[in-house]
Symmetry: D2
Subunit: 304 residues, 4 copies
Amino acid sequence: MPLTPEQQEEIDALRATPRQTLRAVSEGMEKHLYTAYPVLDHGFVRVIDYMGDDNAITQAARVSYGKGTKSVSNDEGLIRYLMRHWHSTPFEMCEIKLHVKLPVFVARQWIRHRTANVNEYSARYSILDREFYIPQPEQLAAQSVINNQGRGEALSGEEAARVLEYLKSDAARCYDHYEEMIGQEGQQGLARELARMNLPANIYTQWYWKVDLHNLFHFLRLRADSHAQYEIRVYAEEICRIVADWVPFAYAAFEDYRMGGATLSARALDALRRMLAGETVTQETSGMSKGEWREFETLLSAKG
Amino acid sequence: MPLTPEQQEEIDALRATPRQTLRAVSEGMEKHLYTAYPVLDHGFVRVIDYMGDDNAITQAARVSYGKGTKSVSNDEGLIRYLMRHWHSTPFEMCEIKLHVKLPVFVARQWIRHRTANVNEYSARYSILDREFYIPQPEQLAAQSVINNQGRGEALSGEEAARVLEYLKSDAARCYDHYEEMIGQEGQQGLARELARMNLPANIYTQWYWKVDLHNLFHFLRLRADSHAQYEIRVYAEEICRIVADWVPFAYAAFEDYRMGGATLSARALDALRRMLAGETVTQETSGMSKGEWREFETLLSAKG
Amino acid sequence: MPLTPEQQEEIDALRATPRQTLRAVSEGMEKHLYTAYPVLDHGFVRVIDYMGDDNAITQAARVSYGKGTKSVSNDEGLIRYLMRHWHSTPFEMCEIKLHVKLPVFVARQWIRHRTANVNEYSARYSILDREFYIPQPEQLAAQSVINNQGRGEALSGEEAARVLEYLKSDAARCYDHYEEMIGQEGQQGLARELARMNLPANIYTQWYWKVDLHNLFHFLRLRADSHAQYEIRVYAEEICRIVADWVPFAYAAFEDYRMGGATLSARALDALRRMLAGETVTQETSGMSKGEWREFETLLSAKG
Amino acid sequence: MPLTPEQQEEIDALRATPRQTLRAVSEGMEKHLYTAYPVLDHGFVRVIDYMGDDNAITQAARVSYGKGTKSVSNDEGLIRYLMRHWHSTPFEMCEIKLHVKLPVFVARQWIRHRTANVNEYSARYSILDREFYIPQPEQLAAQSVINNQGRGEALSGEEAARVLEYLKSDAARCYDHYEEMIGQEGQQGLARELARMNLPANIYTQWYWKVDLHNLFHFLRLRADSHAQYEIRVYAEEICRIVADWVPFAYAAFEDYRMGGATLSARALDALRRMLAGETVTQETSGMSKGEWREFETLLSAKG
């Protein structure tokens, strides 16, 4: 349960007091504002603020391309055109600010997306809460045997139990010692900026994260992808659901051209043309490496 | 007169239809929304959208620094503290989107600020209007004799008249030929992406420009400064007036610590300490170069 | 002829004095260093400095992925893998610094790529040379009738002659007046920061431009593309030739996966799968818009 | 001892084979190349590559400012001028690539500097080594009583011993369990991307970090500062020593204007002017807050 009654109360209060504005309003987004959607065992995602809507994207595009594109009925088509042709600047005209609570090892992946603004909870300054991510049994997965960077089947039986026990007891002991070290009763108390080093990477942190829609789509393409680590993917998926309501045309175009799309190399395109002309193409005659050929075959046989 | 009746009508319509939102609202900013404030002879600045207010800055800072800083009465003090100690990330949590019409040579300076999002009118795609910046007589200044990168007194008499005549007639002739070259009556018509090269740098362009408050302050510090070229400074000053209403605490701190402040070198600080102790310090005994010493003296004698 | 004898002499002198270094050296790049390759009528591109080579890319990747990838024979395969899977950070480990002389209207497109470092010749501070881009007759193209943002056939006969005459005489007159306005004999002389506004956009400027390889590839994909305006494309193509010698494996992967590749939408992939299964797919049954379908057909029928 | 004999051997081999280049060479930097300078108990900093030298900075400035600044004797003065007037782009023309081994909690601070390129060791892909930062006794400091974000005196006696024991034994136990969980003998073995979450933040990671000189100076100003946490400051100080040899003029200017300098607010400048005119100024009559006044007094009484 990620939210305390006090937090829920604060959210309810914020949601109860609408104000007037002359700005663009996305009705689909207003209904999400402030609500903390639970992710993992103690995490959440909630929208703190946003700027713009689908119309802000086409409006910016029309500054560039002039009056020819003005008919309102064209909004969806124009957005699809912009997405297809990698015109990224109109999508940068929308902005979102999220409050995210997430385990430190997820935060370490997330922060690699540099084109965003971040204010993170400071463990130099403040004391971290006793909250650790402990995977659900079905997520306690074995190392993948085919992919260095992935996971396979869930562990089972004794092994699963032992792993769970380690994760829980190590987190608890590290946190007990963290608390004891910074405590100031009967002792000086270790500096917080030092004591935090004893905390394992499944402890939760939180931050405000602000990003424009273009860079958010880039983040979502990588992190909502099936190859992303499960623990960051669930955050990305939650954000996808929100964005779909915020900018429905842009999100649909993103799904079609980015999430559901694929980039083919010159060699792959050449193989395709030959296949469509009736030729039987093999890995050897394609010029592709084995790895690339395997990915190519998977792509062509996938269900849409 | 920068606005056509149609544009004014559109602005009036936008301003007439407030909607409800749950987001943070800056009342000071709402009154500016959409209004085009004239700058130079044909330019303007107008706010298209914004995100956040003073409270959004302290709210983000409190995510980092925890509960100790919560009392509302502290908002101004906290913002001043953040500004004084160069804590830039909380200021990045506010965002503004402007529509700006400006001469091309001003746009070329402006765009050097890279941390912003831009959609500019495309002269490849569309036809530019016949609008050129022609300086007011008092801005028709001579080259500075002490500063390679500055201007001195206004030109006068015949010289001023001749310069004005050149600027006007060259702009007119270049635009006449531009129009004639792209015309398609009785001829093919030159591609717009080529014809635009005949237009001088005082022609007006326009763009949407979106930036966060931290980077906007950086822009304003450089461009609202007395050393900035007049033609960009008037835009920066207009934006200053808007920002002062949008985030009054942050803007006041910016004025005190950035616009009105100064950075002193180790040598200058050392000289100061000696002067306060009663020593007479000269350029020679200060270790400063002549140029730096001159700037140091100017700073200490300036009226606050 | 873009280079003066003095410039050529300076380049020859720089090229005559090799020094010793312990850094990674790209032999293919050393032969290009300092040489100014002519582009358009007065422009050039020359390499001032570089950091890294193909090996720097794989070296950085191996810091991330550990020892499994160590065999040297794998360098090309690893680079292709990184490019195929959009692992951009290893490519950011190479850097190039170029000196470019280019018309202002080209510089205005170029600068939109924000992730680069730039030092441009300042027309506020210094006087611009009398050098204007005047297109070759075969590049004096008509506006495209099918694409707002493109050009069609070359103009011919009287129209071509008239356009050339306008471009040349307007440039000359504007420059004459520029010179006259800033002149200080018998008059004060207009400030350079103002006088420059009289110069048309085909005047040449120059800059140092420094960028990492990942962002350079992004620039080249957009600007060496057949849809890019000819006048920037010739710069991009010249840079492509240099990069091919600098990082041959990375450049070959870039050609295959980016320049020669294509991104297909989910709808396009679905159509492809159905076509490979023997179904006849039309625009109507594909779910694609007319525009997208046209692009899809063109892609499949193109020669590799 | 941070380096294995194998690593030292590799460094010696790299340092033994100079090659010829036509690029700018910094002799002061060549002597540092590849050498791993120890930092903390298991960390290090070493230079992998660099681009440019002091001359590259003035060369770029001269592209902007033209021929007036050409005399070679002026290099130091020009660099000081650029630094004093916040002309940042010429400093961006130098680039450095470092290999850094550092504790995770230090890496988390470091990565907040976004304008850099990073390739970090992937604990999703590879297994982390059993190396943890354990502070020296004199660094085992108590929480500061005056600064939420700082440390005071070193702990002593039993308390120090207990803290050391916790840090060591928790790290050892967490790593034992990490190893056991990913082990594949007689069990499936937990995915590495999950097992890593059991490791505390004092474990070491490593990365390649590439940054331009302007942004490096920004990093050093914040992290070599006395208010920075000791564990990141020692890295910054080590880098300072290297940079002083790489670009001696630029580094000296940085020390004078940034590290040793200070920014005064408008109110502080006003107080100074009054003090220099003989007036006695107090906090009350200065308009400064108590905190700002305290900092102001400290600055003026500091030894240069």
